[in-house]
Symmetry: C2
Subunit: 640 residues, 2 copies
């Protein structure tokens, strides 16, 4: 690192710090205290749910408090060993005999039915409702607080300028490091598609070819039942007045275009090939007459393409009841469960299993919101308590790494989550509860679930919601409290306080600028480059290749376009690839293999350039910059 031109530290005397930020001493202290408390809030909820929080930030928090710090590791699923059947049900753990029941929207675990009746739950801490609301209200106030807004805005501006200076001074040196790094270049750096929906993971041309092929082979096969009558594929297509032979990408009409911009409803309709939900049922769903066979085959083909590409991985998101495609095992795939926020409302994004998920209050499938939560989480708890009596789900859960929450964020709910909000079992109106309300209950259940699973030595789950693609800034606030990492994050543009907090806590953000370009934000206006420069942890993901991409390698297309439009350097691209592996739910074993043994360490120490192709100069810059900002907070808090 001799050649690295360090940016000299600004003086660390507190009064000059305040004046350097052009705020009064009082405002500086106020801001630092607010930011400090915000950091401790996130830390608390991350620990509770066995999610991640950066060690560096924790160390500074302990220093402020005068305490010391111990690391705890996440339990992540190990990949099956070579030759071992990933779906072997013989060695499932035994029944614990516990009882799981939902109370006020959260599932509690009891020793037995008697304890359950008396509500004497086992000691699996769950977030305290009132404290959570308190914490939330504190953060709501903080992000609107004038001095803190000024302070964080100035810090972010500083971070941007600092990176620009770093780039001018060290760009050639970074490149030199990479040139001297044998074997490894951008092409053979591992990259994970951190946000991709299984139902749209194939590109449009792939889907078209698959449909044509399936017809050539299976025209006479019964693929559907209509009012008890068996329908062959030929009959199905005849009823739609089309022949697969004539089908083109245009008539398939699954690609987003100019018509979908700012029109989530139109975008949703694109999930239906040729506008026919029958074809979506047949090809992109797990629960249909053929048991999701076609869907599973398509995903297998996508997985096989990834395996061929060798350095690309994906974390497809699947609706919860879809268990069959998990027979699709590939070392290049990690599964996630997505839970659509569709308690009420007709237009839903990324919901493959309308049938399973027609549990909308609006259609009277569930009596109240609590029942919906129970439908989602109770089977998962039961499979965790007694895996042998739920072998399929238990095995599936071994391959699940996290939960997502999906829907059109731009829809306003009108509801404000507070102490007076109805309990889930009381929420029996047709209206959708707010994003925050959803998020809280998902988080609370995942937290308890993770504790139970951790106790059993099972893999735990991360919470990785869609957040900040559109809608209110409170979405990003809720995720700051509860999510291990998020998808999109565009709206961090709108809140300097939250943006700065996301930086300090290094929350990974899976960004999909091509998706945004078709839906919410033009490519050149995407904040990806800005976030990356400031030091937020961004990765690149495809979201829905079927709707957004043109080529056979959607993830490479995503990287290539970002590289061209934003003029990213190789070091930038490799840093983003590294971020994607860190953000992903790859196992500890895999991450060690992809990033180097010390990947859990922060700063240059944690980087193995031979694996990641990220310059140590860049790592040093990032680490130094984070420490500098955390140190400011420390000085501000201590100066009191």
């Amino acid at each position: 690192l001799d050649s690295y031109i360090f940016l000299k530290h600004w003086p660390l005397c507190v009064t000059s710090l305040a004046s350097a930020n052009q705020v009064t001493m009082d405002d500086f202290e106020l801001s630092c205290k607010g930011v400090y408390r915000a950091l401790t809030i996130r830390e608390k909820y991350m620990r509770l749910a066995y999610q991640r929080f950066p060690l560096t930030t924790s160390e500074y928090l302990r220093e402020i408090e005068g305490g010391s710090f111990k690391t705890e590791d996440l339990v992540q699923p190990a990949p099956p060993k070579q030759g071992e059947d990933p779906f072997d049900t013989k060695n499932l753990p035994k029944d614990l005999g516990y009882v799981a029941r939902m109370k006020d929207g959260v599932i509690y675990v009891y020793k037995d039915a008697a304890a359950a009746d008396k509500h004497q739950p086992k000691d699996l801490p769950c977030p305290d409702y009132d404290t959570f609301i308190d914490d939330m209200n504190f953060l709501i106030a903080l992000i609107a607080q004038g001095p803190t807004k000024t302070y964080t805005h100035r810090r972010l501006k500083f971070l941007m300028s600092k990176f620009n200076v770093h780039e001018m001074l060290n760009e050639m040196e970074e490149m030199k490091e990479l040139k001297l790094n044998p074997h490894r270049d951008f092409y053979n750096c591992r990259k994970v598609d951190t946000h991709i929906h299984a139902a749209a993971c194939m590109n449009q041309k792939h889907l078209l070819r698959f449909i044509k092929r399936s017809y050539r082979v299976d025209a006479e096969r019964v693929v559907h039942k209509l009012n008890g009558k068996e329908v062959t594929m030929k009959e199905l297509f005849e009823s739609l007045h089309l022949h697969p032979y004539d089908l083109t990408v245009d008539s398939l009409d699954v690609h987003a275009g100019r018509q979908t911009f700012q029109r989530f409803d139109k975008f949703n309709a694109k999930y239906n090939p040729v506008g026919a939900s029958e074809l979506r049922d047949l090809y992109m769903k797990t629960e249909n007459h053929i048991g999701g066979e076609y869907f599973a085959t398509i995903i297998k083909e996508v997985a096989s393409d990834l395996e061929d590409a060798k350095y690309q991985y994906a974390e497809p998101r699947l609706s919860i009841y879809g268990c069959n495609p998990t027979e699709v095992f590939s070392p290049n795939l990690k599964w996630m469960i997505q839970i659509p926020r569709i308690y009420s409302g007709p237009s839903v994004r990324h919901v493959e299993n309308n049938k399973s998920f027609d549990i909308f209050r609006g259609r009277n499938f569930v009596p109240h919101f609590g029942k919906m939560l129970e439908n989602i989480f109770l089977p998962v708890f039961n499979a965790t308590i007694d895996p042998q009596s739920h072998p399929e789900l238990s095995i599936f859960l071994q391959h699940v790494t996290g939960f997502d929450s999906v829907d059109d964020e731009s829809k306003h709910s009108g509801h404000m989550f507070c102490t007076k909000s109805p309990k889930p079992q009381e929420w029996d109106v047709g209206k959708n509860p707010s994003y925050t309300y959803y998020i809280y209950y998902m988080y609370a259940n995942i937290a308890v679930l993770n504790q139970l699973r951790r106790e059993r030595g099972m893999n735990t789950f991360t919470f990785r919601p869609h957040c900040g693609e559109a809608g209110a800034i409170t979405h990003l606030l809720a995720a700051f409290m509860t999510a291990d990492n998020i998808s999109h994050g565009l709206n961090l543009k709108k809140s300097p306080v939250l943006q700065y907090l996301y930086f300090l806590t290094q929350i990974p953000i899976a960004m999909s600028p091509l998706s945004n370009n078709s839906l919410f934000l033009e490519y050149a206006k995407n904040p990806l480059l800005e976030f990356h420069k400031k030091g937020l942890v961004v990765s690149l993901s495809t979201d829905d290749p079927m709707q957004f991409h043109y080529t056979k390698e959607p993830l490479m297309e995503e990287y290539a376009i970002a590289a061209q439009v934003f003029k990213l350097s190789t070091c930038d691209m490799c840093e983003i690839s590294r971020n994607s592996v860190l953000q992903s739910a790859m196992s500890h074993e895999e991450k060690s293999h992809f990033l180097g043994q010390n990947y859990l360490k922060e700063g240059p120490e944690g980087n193995d350039i031979r694996k990641t192709n990220v310059a140590q100069i860049r790592m040093a810059y990032r680490y130094e910059t984070l420490c500098y900002e955390l140190n400011l907070i420390k000085e501000g808090v201590k100066s009191d």
Copy 2:
């Protein structure tokens, strides 16, 4: 076309036309007359050299003159028939016994040596030097003429707005046409990479893999001679202090980056893998110790990828003396010869054969500019007169479709082409002559050559220079007079008169926004979308995949990025694909197969939607719009 919403014509009364353009009647007439004369100038030079000029425009010109119009076809090479050896030298035409000699920079053909001595050339019309300069001076005055600038600027603005209105009214109808069009979609529309240099036609990863593979197989092979001593590949790499096993895309360092923006010199250096010209000699040149074997193999692999992709074609450009790689025959490739403008000057783009082309005056390889022209064209004339005594070159020329002129256009020559310019044999100074001077002499020789070849029933050549990538606006003026079509054309932005003339004469422009993004103009500022909307004939091309592209399918990457950044519709993309086939030198047979039997007809008649996937509504709009503008000129000229 019933559903097409026609844009109502503006009133065609001449005075209202003038006022609609907010110019006086006098200025309107002046502008129309100027534009009319400009069109006749291009028409004349296109006819002379057997190049293309739109029939519609010719028809309007004849109407203005009160005459009638006859079409003439281009002679283009037919692809070899199935099973026929494309390199068979048995059936070469006989010697005509003619003598070819250069006089004042242009080669003349004589019946015999006696006629040559008396300078009694055969009747192969060649552009008259003084008339050419007159015509050029007229155009130089025209593009600077106030009223004409105002008029053309307003017409272009109108064309832009008109397309926007068309889009809003007819976009959905166009899409409907495409959806109803069976079999054909963007993926299986033929597209030609109209501008790609052979020496950079592979992507960086491909080159890297090839180098590694060649080393594994051929480490002990003698690949080089240094001062008479044989050098094996192993020794060559040792002398460079590197081992191919350690090589990465980063150390290969052939990709353009932020460092190359506005730095053509740095860009040129990127042609040397690992900065070593020895490796460029070995892998990307035709004249080396191994007879260009590796270069030919790489190109064969690129051709094989194109054949696999099935709907993609390319027209690689090769320096003139490179004959060996033409053994690479592929139905998906058409060869072009590129002539670097390197009479003087050290930094040269796209010159693979430094050795052959070290004919710089600066290095005293040629006594004067005329000798350089003779070196280039005399062998071609001789091979045309007596193919049997130049069998290799003759066969090569059968597969050549055109000539390019390449170099950094941003370098200013300081020379102004005029009647007082020295003749080529008098140009013995070290200074480079101007772009226009080069272009004139290349055009003049190609014109005579085409007439000779046409007489013999041989394939003729088109002139397709790099033009308007940078530098003076006169480049685009020279190409307007002489070129069948051009590459780049960015600077048309700067001259409304020329831009309007390029529109009226439908000169195809091969644009490479990714190349521009790395060298001259940021992606979002590229005028491609603007040109396309106004109705200029643009195609997409890669220029140098090795330097600019990331994926295995560079042409698809080029299309995908343009589609995403510019939000192109499927109809736009298919129109651009169709333009690329029209612009290309694919044979009449191939074009009929790719675009439909009537492709030579203009307007919707010439479009076969089943082949092109371009909506007839779009074709009607384009045709109607061109006719409307030509009609304005007619009215303006006639009103006198």
